[in-house]
């Protein structure tokens, strides 16, 4: 079925799902080989990544073409919307795993390791260890005889909340406002406001990424805060890292939307792609607020 005859649009057979499968298979097995220092993994990763980049370009080109040809009726549009909402829902639970781990370590297992609570007797593993947050002296250190090799490094100074993290909060919150302003422009057919709003949003997002990259360098070189510096470093980089990764994805999608907006693809009635990306952007925003509160502030 190809026409926009009012039926629910069922696409013709498409090669992209199977190309996607090959791409992720190459990528994952490449990573698995590389982390085990087996040769050839790097090549797999490069081919896999190129496949995935081409795939996203090709798959979304198809979708954009179908959308511009008017194949999508209201019901298809609703399917897309609901699909995106559930996808973001699953992403929320992905982040819940890391936030949950943070709470578990801080509230339950950390204090136990430090000798508090009824199970504090596990403290005998690391006698004299006191649990503090952010954790700077690792449990292995207190029990270790002088001169033994260390597995985890100590943190010289924890990451402060004010300064760049606070600035980042401001950047992301403003980008949420500018994307909404762009949406207002779209709804009243003001393409200039739409494009300007999107350019501002992308700029703010990229500034955020740049500031975060600078902050990582600062953490590694001056604070002694790395992936290797115990559970604080592990959680810090896992949470902010996955968030940063999502910001990069979001910004990439925003750039695509910006290019489409410049071509005049969107109308006040028909702009699911814009809204999906805006929802995603707000989601990334909300995750950052959680991060700022629980990782940096308290």
């Amino acid at each position: 079925m190809t026409s926009g005859d009012g039926h629910y649009y069922i696409p013709e057979g498409s090669p992209w799902p199977i190309v996607a499968t090959l791409g992720v298979l190459l990528l994952t097995s490449g990573v698995a080989l590389t982390v085990n220092d087996v040769g050839g993994g790097g090549l797999f990763i490069i081919i896999g990544l190129l496949t995935m980049i081409y795939l996203f370009y090709a798959w979304f080109s198809d979708v954009i073409h179908e959308s511009m040809s008017g194949y999508y009726n209201e019901e298809v549009d609703r399917s897309f919307r609901q699909g995106m909402i559930w996808f973001i829902g699953s992403e929320v639970f992905f982040f819940m795993a890391f936030f949950g781990s943070l709470f578990y370590i801080r509230v339950i297992s950390g204090p136990w390791l430090g000798g508090e609570g009824w199970l504090g007797l596990s403290n005998m593993l690391h006698e004299g260890f006191k649990f503090t947050w952010p954790l700077s002296i690792q449990p292995e250190d207190v029990a270790q005889a002088a001169g033994a090799p260390e597995k985890y490094m100590d943190v010289k100074e924890p990451m402060g909340a004010w300064g760049i993290p606070a600035l980042n909060t401001l950047l992301l919150l403003s980008s949420g406002a500018t994307v909404t302003w762009a949406h207002w422009g779209l709804k009243k057919r003001d393409n200039r406001q739409l494009v300007l709003g999107l350019i501002l949003t992308v700029t703010l997002g990229l500034l955020f990424v740049a500031a975060q990259a600078y902050e990582y360098g600062h953490a590694y070189h001056e604070l002694g805060l790395t992936l290797n510096s115990g559970i604080y470093g592990s959680l810090f980089f896992m949470l902010t890292g996955f968030h940063g990764f999502h910001v990069i994805i979001g910004a990439t999608m925003l750039i695509v939307i910006l290019l489409r907006a410049m071509k005049g693809h969107f109308s006040p009635e028909h702009h699911f792609a814009f809204e999906a990306v805006a929802w995603y952007w707000h989601f990334v925003d909300v995750v950052w607020l959680g991060l700022f509160t629980f990782v940096y502030l308290i």
């Binding site: 897309f80 699953s90 819940m96 781990s101 592990s234």
Partner: protein, 532 residues
């Protein structure tokens, strides 16, 4: 329930390999899911046969301990992620659009992606199994499907392939679930309200919702594992302030709902089969929907009953014990509904119905051993014994696999247009469940006597019962060859099946699936029918 517009044939099926590789058709993708599940069932089954051959007698028979542990790990992963879940998704793919009066699944291309991720994941998993036999391939994955650290952090390269396989399986589940949820919420024909939907659709809805919630958490957990293995983090290492029990919480937050992910599709099949062969509407439709919501919510807040022995606080274990026992309320409600549907019905006993009745009995049995295991002081004794193995095989074979068998027999005539061989079906049923009970029933006793699970050797006092169990397993395992034969025979021909091959189906909680001819046209409902 009557319909106006019937399906119109729009396009024929595309021909050749492209039809399958590039498919956007819910029936073709459903078929691929089912075939994949069947292949995986035989793979996982072969591993199970190796396990039982090894345990035939005390002492080492055919393999080294670490290979034994790898085989039981992959048996579980393949059966859960490769056989049961894809088979359930396959049934949903085939039946949901037909039941709800939709032209296809809501997002057809995504549907194909969620299928093709599965063979990729299987390839990664098989790589992890082959690696230990290659030079430089590292130690095998010996952790069991639970992948607990610290052992999983210390394992060889195979563990990384297993972790990525789980990532792909999770992605496939999430995308497939999104598709199922959107199809049910958005693609119903006019007049097909939520409360008119066949119960199978309700069950698949909750299955999919559970997966959307829990699969990402597992993805997060195994990602942390990967980082602990290779990037120096200390999530699960107390020396760096982490906690190995954290992984158990993350895993079982996924792992417990996963049990319901496997069970609910079978409950859905039973809710179609039992009314059909009792020739009565489903008893207590609304109560069953309520029970599903109850079960769905409970399943997300009871996970730590798998971890009573790791040393949680008494308050936490008490909470998890009480909530776990509460689960018997919605499960009991389902059993009651099924029994009351059969009550005074004009029952006949075709193969799907035989399975349905045996499931009600055997799954209730698993429910009873489940309550025993839920009680903390009792579980301290049962934990990690064969009693647990017997319990969850009684839960997952009747509660999932046999439900899928019932569904396949029930819908095969619809899919193929031919009746399956009823006589062979019945032979298969008896062969199958006698073998099953012979395998797993005795394991309760060795478990209570203290035989630990996941260990290649055992004390000679358990020899007789283990030999019995192994003989049962060989009977059980070979029975599936007959299943394969029946399915192939039915596809190739047989007595012609009508649009509604089961005359009792009218009385059941049917949707629109019987309005279509058998076999149904390539596209189900191009114009949505109107349900009055």
């Amino acid at each position: 329930m009557s319909t106006t517009a019937v399906a119109e044939e729009h396009h024929g099926a595309p021909s050749g390999l492209k039809r399958w590789l590039f498919s956007t058709n819910h029936k073709d993708i459903g078929t691929m899911y089912l075939i994949f599940a069947l292949v995986m069932m035989f793979t996982g089954g072969a591993l199970a046969m190796l396990i039982r051959a090894e345990l035939f007698m005390p002492g080492l028979q055919i393999m080294q301990p670490d290979i034994y542990n790898m085989i039981l790990t992959d048996h579980a992963l393949i059966m859960i992620f490769g056989a049961v879940m894809p088979a359930a998704t396959g049934l949903a793919n085939w039946m949901l659009p037909m039941m709800l009066g939709a032209p296809d699944m809501a997002l057809p291309r995504l549907n194909n992606l969620s299928f093709w991720l599965l063979p990729a994941a299987a390839a990664l998993l098989l790589t992890s199994m082959v690696l230990p036999f290659l030079p430089g391939g590292g130690a095998p994955v010996t952790t069991g499907w639970t992948l607990y650290p610290p052992l999983s952090v210390q394992s060889g390269m195979g563990m990384d392939f297993t972790i990525f396989a789980i990532h792909l399986l999770g992605a496939s589940s999430i995308l497939g679930s999104i598709n199922i949820v959107v199809t049910i919420l958005n693609m119903r024909a006019p007049g097909m309200t939520m409360m008119k939907m066949p119960m199978f659709a309700w069950c698949m809805l909750f299955t999919a919702l559970l997966l959307i919630i829990v699969a990402p958490v597992l993805a997060g957990g195994v990602t942390m594992l990967l980082f602990d293995r290779h990037f120096g983090t200390s999530f699960f290492d107390a020396a760096g302030g982490g906690d190995p029990v954290l992984f158990q919480h993350l895993f079982w937050f996924f792992g417990h709902p996963e049990v319901y992910v496997m069970l609910l599709p079978a409950i859905g099949v039973l809710s179609m089969v039992i009314p059909t062969f009792s020739r009565k509407p489903l008893f207590g439709y609304k109560a069953l929907v309520g029970g599903l919501i109850f079960l769905f919510s409970l399943s997300l807040i009871v996970w730590a009953h798998h971890q009573y022995t790791v040393g949680m606080s008494p308050l936490a274990t008490e909470y998890f014990m009480i909530m776990t026992i509460v689960i018997s309320i919605p499960v009991g409600l389902m059993i009651l509904n099924f029994l009351m549907t059969m009550w005074r019905g004009a029952m006949t006993f075709e193969t799907p119905m035989l399975y349905a009745i045996s499931i009600v009995i055997m799954f209730s049995f698993a429910g009873v051993t489940g309550v025993m295991l839920a009680v903390v002081p009792a579980d301290m004794e049962y934990h990690d014994t064969y009693f647990v193995v017997a319990h969850f095989h009684y839960a997952l074979l009747p509660g999932a696999l046999f439900g899928l068998f019932a569904g396949v027999f029930y819908w095969l005539p619809k899919w193929t247009g031919h009746m399956y061989d009823e006589k062979l079906g019945k032979i298969f049923f008896w062969w199958n469940i006698i073998g099953f009970n012979l395998t797993f029933f005795p394991q309760h006793f060795v478990g209570l006597a203290g035989m630990p699970r996941r260990i290649v050797d055992y004390s000679p006092q358990f020899a007789e019962i283990n030999m019995l169990s192994s003989i049962g397993a060989f009977i059980f395992g070979t029975s599936h060859l007959l299943f394969l034969y029946i399915v192939i025979k039915c596809i190739r021909g047989g007595e012609k099946a009508g649009d509604m091959p089961w005359e009792g189906a009218k009385a059941g909680t049917t949707g629109l699936e019987w309005e279509l001819p058998s076999p149904p046209p390539f596209h189900s409902y191009t114009t949505p029918p109107v349900v009055r």
